[in-house]
Symmetry: C2
Subunit: 189 residues, 2 copies
């Protein structure tokens, strides 16, 4: 199962067998049930999670009391509250499995150990962070430039299989509008 992670790492840096074992020694695999949280607001985030399979959502509770999804965690994505992880302060986010899932868990401590014994790991995470940052800016760009309907169509075209997998109200939240709006958009066609 962790092969998915090794494949991912190898897309950024190349590891020999020893290095692969060293990496695996620093992580554990954990099963997460549908609806189970691996992080809740108020708790301190202690690890970085790599999604081996299944699907997660990361959200916060708005002033209005509504849940706002800030990102989805799919296969081959790292998910965590980096602010809480880095600072050791309580998180404002929830991370919850949308489907039964398996994650590779890399605790903060093990991550540091790994970095000091294998600089390549640091390079890998530098590239992962850079990609995540760029993706976040792209997301901002869509929010600023496209209407609700355009955002939906764009997302639907880019990730058709994913749209089938999650409840519509979650997709609406992620895209920045209400379930009612999504329902009307879909009714148009």
């Amino acid at each position: 199962m962790v092969q998915a992670l090794l494949n991912h790492v190898n897309r950024f840096v190349s590891l020999n067998t020893d290095e692969q074992h060293l990496l695996l020694d620093h992580l554990s695999v954990r099963h997460v049930n549908k609806k189970e949280h691996i992080l809740v607001a108020g708790a301190i985030c202690t690890a970085n999670y790599f999604v081996l399979n299944g699907c997660f959502r990361m959200y916060f509770i708005k002033e209005s009391g509504q849940e706002q999804i800030v990102q989805f965690g799919l296969n081959n994505w790292w998910i965590s509250d980096l602010t809480s992880l880095e600072s050791g302060k309580p998180s404002g986010f929830y991370i919850q499995a949308i489907e039964d899932a398996n994650v590779a868990v890399l605790t903060k401590q093990n991550q540091e150990l790994l970095f000091s014994s294998m600089p390549k790991a640091e390079r890998y995470f530098r590239l992962v962070m850079q990609k995540a940052y760029a993706a976040s800016l792209m997301r901002l760009q869509y929010l600023f430039d496209l209407s609700a309907e355009e955002r939906y169509h764009h997302f639907n075209t880019a990730y058709p299989e994913f749209v089938q997998r999650v409840p519509q109200y979650m997709l609406a939240s992620y895209l920045g509008f209400t379930p009612e709006v999504l329902s009307k958009i879909r009714a148009k066609k």
Copy 2:
């Protein structure tokens, strides 16, 4: 002038004198006049820029033809289109000096050289990317949770000196609304 950069690096990793020199050997300092662009849409981004002093804005042109600011580049921030830099493909962004400015220029090539001769540099950038990513998620959070007026007040409280430095219409763009709205918000008090 590059002392600002050394100080910044030293906040994340500690460098001895030799390492400091090695770092400086990989970069050059460039003066940028007010209104001058260091990146325009359609061009390939070739470097990562560290703002020594002055101020930049990074923006794109919306479907509607309006400029949309995605971020400001202030003292001690790295600014670049990482997507273009990494892929070698044309950028969709503009980066322009709002005031006369000085930047430390780290080309893609030099960055790679630096990383291979000094793993600490990779660590520094891993941390910088991680922080930038976290900041971007925080920005999304404010956009989703706060009204135009709340976003303005929040920003104004957090960065009062900066608000004085940039034209209001740029601030409005960054915060995701029109100059007219900002004008009306200000008229209230």
